[in-house]
């Protein structure tokens, strides 16, 4: 009998397709109410932190340098009041095989896919994760398909995404490109069904366990190389996995810095809009993913996302597109290190945050990413201009996403803007409560306190 491949029929088969393609039965973690056993899900990979370190060593992943940005720190101190301006360090994740931290995320998944006998792997991503999966598949001898959202209805593609397609192909992957729309997931489900490949989702416990090594290494390197615990770790936040995995790894090393999320502010742009798709100059690390995935993580392609950033976040700040391009220039010009713009979102925030902290404190920026044609300030700002965006110097607070990009006229204008984290916590709690018909159970209250790094009184207050 021929399979019904209509949109509704395929979406109806989603639970079964995902179960087969990930090999995880998510129902066993469920309580039947709001709560589910997150830690049991994380442990269900069967891989300990030590196992993951060993797997990553096999892929030549990790142990990236922790670089002190001495000149940027000097710049920060010129802008700070006397005695202020924390030391800024960056974890140079671009040194990984695929050019970003995302390969940590891919390694456990692909190792597992190979071990379980899957004939290949599929990844749905327009970001660095595609190259990460392609890299691990190449090393593992597995075929790989990367599905990207890439073009608007005029057939115009984001230069950054096109570069990522090139890199995926260079590493051997088949790249399937789509026009704008969340139905990308429908296409992926059909391919998973047709090929029997593993779904190398960004949001499984395999993926997040892979990022724990990043937090673990930061703790280890700060102790050995600096002789001091990090005071603040800044993570670029989109889907939440980067922050979740890093924070969990730090915790496993008994290291408890303040965890700050940073996203590029794309307020006002709809991520699924055909006409707005090419009005943005960042395709990841932005609020268009950061906000919805923080306040409702289970919108991902697996029933329960392992990326749950509000569990670990102490502070959330936004920076503008212009500030990140400017920071990318600072890194090149003052430190002699040329890296991709999107990965410098957290560095832009760190330059602002370090000014609030005494000189002896340490701020760690936990990633960089590779740069190249398309994935570069000049490529992305030229593209912005071609799409009608005004690019100028001024005060970044005057930037309007989709209309203008404002490069700071002076480094003193770099300013991370705080997001109301309690508001986000309340949003998650309210949404969670709306998913069940009954009043939350005692277990649910405790769960939601964990989910939001708050307490039961806060949860009860929100739902009163």
């Amino acid at each position: 009998m021929k399979m019904d491949n209509s949109f509704s029929a395929v979406m109806a088969r989603k639970p079964e397709i995902i179960r087969n393609a990930v090999g995880v039965d998510y129902s066993k973690f469920e309580s039947g109410s709001i709560a589910f056993d997150y830690e049991a899900m994380m442990a269900s990979t069967g891989y300990s932190l030590e196992d993951v370190i060993e797997i990553q060593r096999g892929f030549s992943i990790g142990n990236t340098p922790l670089i002190e940005l001495k000149n940027i720190t000097s710049l920060v101190r010129k802008l700070s009041k006397t005695g202020y301006g924390a030391r800024i360090f960056v974890k140079d994740e671009a040194a990984n095989p695929s050019g970003s931290f995302k390969v940590r995320r891919a390694a456990t998944s692909i190792h597992h896919a190979k071990r379980m006998g899957y004939p290949g792997a599929i990844s749905a991503t327009s970001g660095n994760y595609g190259a990460a999966v392609a890299s691990c598949c190449a090393k593992s001898g597995l075929p790989c398909i990367v599905v990207q959202e890439c073009y608007d209805s005029r057939g115009v593609g984001q230069p950054e995404i096109i570069e990522k397609a090139r890199k995926c192909e260079a590493l051997g992957a088949e790249v399937v490109q789509l026009s704008v729309g969340p139905e990308l997931f429908y296409t992926v489900l059909r391919m998973l069904e047709d090929t029997g490949y593993f779904n190398a989702s960004l949001y499984t416990a395999f993926g997040i366990a892979g990022i724990e090594t990043l937090g673990w290494e930061i703790a280890k390197q700060c102790r050995l190389e600096i002789g001091r615990e990090p005071d603040v770790v800044v993570c670029t936040n989109a889907g939440g996995g980067n922050l979740t995995g890093t924070a969990r790894g730090l915790q496993k090393a008994n290291c408890v810095p303040q965890i700050v999320a940073a996203s590029v502010n794309l307020k006002g742009l709809h991520m699924a809009s055909d006409t707005q798709f090419n009005k943005k100059s960042f395709t990841t690390g932005h609020t268009g993913f950061g906000m919805p995935f923080s306040t409702w993580p289970d919108r991902s392609d697996v029933p329960r996302s392992a990326a749950r950033p509000l569990r670990y976040m102490d502070r959330y700040v936004t920076v503008s597109q212009g500030e990140v391009f400017y920071t990318t220039e600072l890194l090149a010009r003052l430190e002699g290190i040329e890296r991709g713009p999107a990965g410098n979102t957290s560095l832009a925030a760190a330059i602002s945050i370090a000014q609030e902290l005494p000189e002896d404190q340490i701020v760690v920026v936990q990633e960089t990413e590779y740069t190249g044609a398309g994935k570069h300030g000049s490529a992305q700002l030229s593209f912005a201009r071609q799409n009608g965006i005004r690019v100028s110097f001024g005060d970044p607070k005057d930037e309007t996403a989709g209309e203008s990009i404002v490069l700071p006229a002076h480094p003193s204008l770099l300013h991370a803007v705080d997001v109301d984290l309690d508001h986000m916590r309340r949003s998650l709690i309210t949404h969670a409560a709306s998913t069940v018909e009954h009043a939350p159970t005692a277990e649910d209250f405790a769960f939601l306190a964990m989910e939001t790094k708050s307490n039961e009184a806060f949860v009860r207050g929100t739902l009163r």
Partner: protein, 100 residues
């Protein structure tokens, strides 16, 4: 005319405007969901003709032939004077030295 065995790019429509997901914004709902992929051509086909290809992972898929020997042409874009000036200004702010 692309020859059998050539490396080509094909295009297809996955969902027509009327078939788009309910949650999609209005502007996106008015256009189809399109797909592009690449593979080795099964038979001689003219540009714009219906083609069947075998992809790098061995999938056999069909669509309209859009490119023969597709290549990348993305670049570092145009010269963006503001970026150069931003870097140079910051360098002078930190290390000193007058404007040229």
């Amino acid at each position: 005319m692309a020859k059998k065995g050539d490396w080509v790019r094909i295009h297809s429509i996955i969902l027509q405007p009327g078939e788009r997901a309910a949650a999609v914004p209005e502007d996106t709902r008015q256009v189809p969901l399109e797909l592009w992929t690449k593979g080795y051509l099964a038979a001689d086909t003219p540009l714009g003709g219906e083609a069947t290809v075998t992809t790098r992972t061995g999938r056999v898929v069909s669509g309209t032939l859009t490119d023969e020997a597709p290549h990348y042409s993305h670049s570092f874009g145009d010269f963006v004077p503001e970026l150069q000036q931003a870097g140079d200004d910051a360098f002078r702010f930190l290390f000193g030295g007058g404007k040229k």
